[in-house]
């Protein structure tokens, strides 16, 4: 004899549906908490648009319960590049060999743990003792890095770059641009660099912005009116192995990341290079800002100078300044000094005031030591996926 027990009224008491007579549409009513589960899986652009649907949806970003769901989805559900997460993390830093003596080191970490590291030798001329070396755009594209080295003697700048595939140890130096070897009346000063991939032409490119200092030379015979001190924006293509000048107007007055410890490297994502610049020359409120790529979005990590609370905002729509949305707050955590990079699993690498690097999980704020110390401000980190791409083979 079967025993039927009625189910007690559950959370879906208001569940009801009826089949209406016109075109068999069913009038389903989805309660808010379930609707939020659906909404939390939408891109932020869609959410902002759907604020028009009804009042409660226009207040989603002020709803802490919803924002938690949204943050979790943002961190852990990036379906697009799930395959990338099988890669390693590269870490470029200046390690102290002895007090005040630092040497550039390049590591590959698996599982973001320093104990599972492999140290790779940097290729010449990047294996020296220069302190002004970096990875352009803090990125490896299809397993290739672009290494850069600034050498300054007084106000004279020289810049060397090379493409490097650590998996094959292939190195290819980038030739200097003819506009660098400038007439004697001017000296170049490199403002910013970028490296990226042109997927339309299957080409690897460098971009560089140079301004010029006047050099006073009594023997200079180029008349003043014929001289040019105009800044130049140049782009190098690996396919053609040449530089050319881009006719683009960089607005005056932008000072690209001229805080002395921040190298002008910027970030690269999806065919676009980004740099953080400022038009504020000292009248600002003392905010420090770090531009990073967080889960397929351009993001800013910022804090007030010396404060240990960091705000993370993401740029929802490229080119739309109104689309910066603050998504995370980290801290206050007294030991934190400066953010370094974003890791694979929803974590951010920070440098602590004791020089140690740590991971902070953005959803739990749990701190995990990486186990490495280094020189202040000279760290770069990112995702690396090994490839056997032959750089030389890309030359046409």
């Amino acid at each position: 004899m079967e025993k039927c027990v009625p189910m007690a009224a559950g959370k879906n008491e208001d569940l009801k549906y009826e089949v209406s007579n016109n075109n068999n549409r069913i009038n389903v009513h989805i309660p808010d908490d379930i609707a939020f589960s659906i909404l939390s899986k939408l891109p932020i652009k869609s959410l902002k648009r759907f604020g028009c649907v009804r009042k409660s949806w226009s207040l989603l970003f002020e709803n802490p319960y919803f924002m938690n769901m949204l943050r979790n989805h943002f961190l852990y559900n990036n379906n697009r590049h799930c395959s990338d997460y099988g890669g390693d993390t590269f870490l470029f830093l200046y390690e102290p060999l002895r007090p005040h003596y630092y040497r550039a080191s390049f590591y590959l970490l698996s599982n973001d743990k320093f104990e599972d590291r492999i140290k790779l030798d940097l290729p010449p001329p990047f294996d020296g003792e220069d302190i002004a070396m970096y990875i352009l755009s803090s990125v490896s594209v299809n397993g290739i890095f672009c290494l850069g080295k600034d050498t300054r003697r007084g106000i004279v700048n020289s810049f060397q770059a090379a493409l490097w595939n650590p998996a094959t140890a292939e190195v290819m130096g980038i030739p200097p641009s003819p506009d660098e070897s400038v007439p004697p009346y001017r000296d170049p000063f490199f403002i910013f660099h970028g490296f990226g991939y042109d997927n339309v032409r299957d080409d690897y490119k460098l971009i560089r912005y140079i301004t010029f200092f006047q050099v006073v030379d009594e023997e200079e015979d180029v008349p003043y009116e014929d001289r040019s001190y105009d800044p130049l924006l140049q782009i190098y293509s690996l396919r053609s192995n040449t530089w050319r000048i881009l006719d683009v107007n960089i607005p005056d007055g932008y000072d690209i990341s001229m805080i002395d410890f921040e190298k002008p490297v910027g970030v690269y994502m999806d065919g676009v290079c980004h740099w953080w610049g400022t038009t504020d020359f000292g009248n600002g409120e003392g905010y420090l800002v770090r531009l990073v790529v967080l889960n397929e979005s351009i993001a800013l990590i910022s804090n007030r100078f010396k404060a240990t609370t960091f705000h993370i905002s993401i740029l929802v729509e490229l080119g739309v300044k109104e689309s910066w949305i603050k998504l995370f707050i980290v801290g206050p955590i007294p030991s934190l000094d400066w953010p370094i990079a974003v890791g694979k699993k929803g974590g951010i690498c920070f440098r602590q005031t004791n020089d140690e690097l740590v991971w902070i999980d953005l959803s739990t704020q749990i701190i995990d030591e990486i186990g490495v110390k280094g020189e202040r401000y000279c760290y770069q980190m990112g995702i690396y996926k090994e490839s056997l791409l032959c750089i030389g083979g890309i030359n046409d």
């Binding site: 189910m7 989805i30 899986k41 869609s46 648009r49 604020g51 028009c52």
Partner: protein, 154 residues
């Protein structure tokens, strides 16, 4: 043998009765994936038929099939067979029966389908009345103009 073992532990069958009276005989371990059902089994050991008053037979059949077959490949194809109404009803069923994997799968599927749509479309899909005043809505549309670019035509 592993096969026999699983047979033995799941040899107990349960009957689930959908809201329209359709009966489903399922193995205990399948029924247990529905946490709501599990809770009732825990409460009353002698149950043989459990009424599921909120779910139509058509949807309960789909839910049971999902539980039996779910894996990465199956989940990826699962949602493609159903229209929006069925997806929503399945979501309500999965929510009522407390099957978290299916809820996740369905929420993602519905989100994917409305991602590029207009607010009007979404209102129709969810049967929502617009409680914004015209001025409020106009203000939102102006403020988030950038979010309206590239939207699918209704």
């Amino acid at each position: 043998m592993a096969e026999e073992k699983s047979q033995a532990s799941s040899s107990k069958m349960l009957t689930l009765k959908a809201s329209d009276g359709v009966l489903f005989e399922v193995e205990l371990n399948i029924a247990k994936e529905m946490k709501t059902v599990q809770a009732y089994i825990d409460d009353c050991e002698d149950i043989e038929t459990i009424p599921i008053p909120n779910v139509l037979g058509k949807h309960l059949a789909i839910v049971i099939e999902y539980i039996k077959k779910t894996n990465e490949e199956y989940d990826a194809e699962f949602e493609k067979q159903w229209n929006m109404d069925d997806l929503q009803l399945l979501l309500l069923a999965a929510n009522y029966l407390n099957i978290s994997g299916l809820q996740e799968c369905l929420c993602k599927a519905i989100a994917k389908r409305i991602e590029n749509k207009s607010p009007e479309y979404v209102r129709k899909v969810f049967n929502i009345e617009n409680d914004h005043s015209p001025e409020e809505e106009a203000k939102l549309r102006k403020e988030y103009k950038w979010a309206f670019e590239g939207v699918d035509k209704d």
